[in-house]
Amino acid sequence: MKANDNQTLHDDHEGVWTFHGGIKLPGHKDLSTQTAINKLPACEHYTVPLNQHIGADGEILVAEGERVLKGQMLAKPRGIISAAVHSPVSGTVETIAEHTFPHPSGLAGLSITIKNDYKDEWTEHEIIGDDFINRSSHDLRNVVRDAGIVGLGGATFPAAVKQTEVGIETLILNGVECEPYISCDDMLMREHATEIVKGAEIVAHIINAEKCIIAIEDNKPEAIASMSQAAAESKLDNLIVQSVPTIYPSGGERQLIKVITGKEVPVDGLPADIHVLCHNVATSYAIYKAIYKGEPLISRVVTLTGHGINSPQNIEAAIGAPVKTCVEYCGGYKDDASALIMGGPMMGLSLETDELPIIKATNCLLVTTSEDISLPTSTAHMPCIRCGKCVEVCPANLLPQQLYWYSASKDYDRAIEYNLFDCIECGCCSYVCPSQIPLVQYYRYAKSDIWEQERDRKKSDMARERHERRLERIEKQKREREEKLKKKREALAKNKGSRDKELDKKKELIAQALARVNEKKSTKHIKAQNVDNLTEEQQKQIAEVDKRRADMKKDKH
């Protein structure tokens, strides 16, 4: 391949690699690709959950009753891995309350409900446009961060965080869209190829990538054609559109990286470890909008499809718009609609109700009938016959039957040893299992059980620590108290000592006094009375007498 014709389409699969396993699935894509992307009309209310991404909830910036403008930040990212959310319309903040939103846990999350005033008034926003080339990576990353952009392929990892990785050589744009039914990326690539490529240019500038590869499954010839054209017009050298074989799950980030580079992302590592950054094409489009239009992520393309909906199509819906309204816009449910799934039929999340908002992760709403899916009629399944079909298809190259065995018997240590946590929950194993074991369910259960235990362990660790700390504190207090007491006692003792000394002194003084008294007494005893005022003569006489007396005493002895 010459250096300058690398902007052409590889319509064969030359130069792509394979990953282990995978399955061929019926696509059902054309169900929803018959019409152009339509814009969902404005709705009365929008419910914007704070937690639409991987990472911490944002920090709320508005209050109930406050007027907000379109594109105004409602919550700012808190911590490193977090994302902002914005108001999709101008209006008032009606409530800030718990609201159910599409989440595997089924729990409610804090959401901001905006009542639309239909004025469509934009907040102030900066348009950078082609000038991005003169901006620093840091600045641009901040724009991406403040625009609340997350991975739109479904993983919803904050995009700006990914872009902080250094040493990236290859930027891969993921336009694979391997799950059946979903066509939002396909339609976006058909209609907004230039914008997507511009987004890629921005990201390539931010991370200083050497080359950019746009990967598209070969079942989307229209998307490949329009993207190739946009790529050819791009200023970016080393921009390639690469068609990849249609095999599920080649759109999984790790699988796609293997297909494109032939290298595997280390288990405990990140794509950056092998110098790759992967963004979804829709993410790239969102980045384009943030830089060229100054628009934060307040809408996305959603595929509404399945045999249970009247007119399947792709719509551009604002984040926070009610799912119900979207379905109504697409002609409503058919009578035999049986299930509502957010995402595709392999990894999607089944929703119990349509009273939920569209969130950043909502790439597809699949309304199924018995024609689309086969929900198990009973929970009983056959035992595993160890046929190994699951082993053949597992893209992570695991031994699903062993994982099943250990997950079902709750032998979690062994399950972890058999790399349970490397399972990407793609569902290939469940798909082929002749015993129709809901394998992925077992894995999910085991994983959450292990997390639970881990949390409990951590909690009890923490509790223990707390307890230990408490004990320590008590001990310390006790020690301190004792110390104090001791000091006090010592002080007391010292006091007492000094008192004693004083006493001693007193005693001494008393003794001295007594001694003096005694001395006095004895002298008195010797001394003649009334001798004080005597003359010298008299005293001499007395002395002589005394001497004599004393001599006499001596002689007596």
Binding site: K324, A337, P345
Partner: protein
């Protein structure tokens, strides 16, 4: 609107165990028709007896273990066990021998270990080995293949032999039965004759046919075809039969090249006796075989080597059943040490 909650994935290729088992049965049909053609009514009786006893004991055991009977019986696994066992037993085996083998296969080989999916040993081979050890004489009751000598006995004669255990009036068991080529060759070589001599022998020579024994070429050839169909259908994995056959060819060639007079050719080994039945139908029993890709290759090759050793130097006519059971025992180890390298993991140090 409210919907039923379910868990991903919502799709399935809708394969099921029953379907797999039925396909195994279909794939057995051409080979068993050849068996019937060359070895007579006894083959049919074996099948009938084994199937009835296996299904009956399966039902009994399920009831005994308080398991739902209907789904387990319908999965077809007991049927497959019965057919494999019946096709491995000699055609003139007395009815009680087949019955005992079937009972052991289902009751001990399968249910005492916990039923389908939990049995570490191939049930059909458990049944087979039990009667092979206990009744070695009855296990040699093969008929001469169609076209050799008088061929196989008629319907009524077979009924007499199978159900009363004695030869029909005016005949002797020895005259009616005839050892298989593998057995014959081994006996004669042990008596210090060489392969050329045996093949040219006035009495047994006829038995060997052009390649590997009259009838056996057909039987094995048709099992091979059935097996290939199973691989194409995705019912069995090609690794076990391939490694089995390749290993058998390699090892038998090696010895044949060293000493042509005492060791028969690779062609003889691969197309005689139960080789193809074992390669495609018995060794591939998923429950008792290794499940890892590498493990399966070792597993298949291991069976071939052990079977070859027993065929040539062991005390039993054919060693496949022992080989399968021996390799069954190695499966937990094989599976453990041949785990595939998980995506993104550096090569496993084991």
């Amino acid at each position: 609107m409210l919907f039923k909650k379910a868990d991903a994935p919502y799709l399935s290729n809708n394969s099921n165990v029953q379907q797999l088992m039925l396909k195994v049965i279909y794939a057995l049909i051409p080979g068993s028709i050849a068996m019937f053609w060359f070895f007579g009514w006894g083959v049919l009786f074996n099948l009938l007896i084994a199937i009835s006893v296996c299904l009956a004991s399966e039902t009994m055991m399920l009831k005994f273990r308080r398991r739902p009977v209907q789904p387990a019986l319908m999965d077809g696994s007991a049927l497959v066990t019965a057919c494999l066992l019946a096709l491995a037993l000699p055609p003139l085996a007395p009815w009680w021998l087949t019955t005992i083998a079937s009972l052991f296969a289902i009751v001990v080989g399968k249910h005492l270990y916990g039923g389908l999916g939990f049995n570490p040993f191939n049930p059909a081979m458990v049944g087979y080995v039990v009667v092979l050890i206990s009744f070695p004489r009855e296990m040699t009751l093969w008929t001469p293949p169609m076209g050799v000598g008088d061929g196989w006995p008629g319907f009524m004669d077979t009924v007499t032999i199978v159900f009363s255990g004695v030869a029909p009036v005016g005949q002797t068991m020895d005259a009616i039965t005839m050892a298989t080529p593998i057995d014959t060759l081994k006996t004669q070589i042990n008596l210090a004759y060489d392969t050329e001599y045996v093949r040219a022998h006035r009495v047994y020579g006829e038995l060997f046919g052009p390649v590997s024994g009259v009838g056996w070429e057909w039987v094995n050839g048709l099992y091979l075809l059935g097996g290939i169909w199973l691989i194409k259908q995705g019912v069995i994995d090609k690794r076990i039969p391939l490694s089995f056959i390749i290993a058998l060819i390699l090892i038998s060639n090696l010895f044949a090249v060293i000493d042509y007079s005492s060791y028969s050719s690779a062609l003889f080994h691969t197309l005689s006796g139960g080789t193809m039945l074992a390669a495609f139908f018995i060794a591939t029993d998923p429950v008792s075989a290794s499940t890892t890709p590498k493990g399966r290759i070792i597993y298949g090759a291991g069976i071939a080597c052990i079977a070859y050793i027993i065929r040539n130097w062991g005390g039993y006519p054919d060693g496949i059943a022992f080989a399968v059971l021996l390799m069954n025992m190695t499966v937990p180890l094989l599976d453990y040490y041949t785990q595939p390298r998980t995506y993104g993991k550096s090569e496993r140090r084991s």
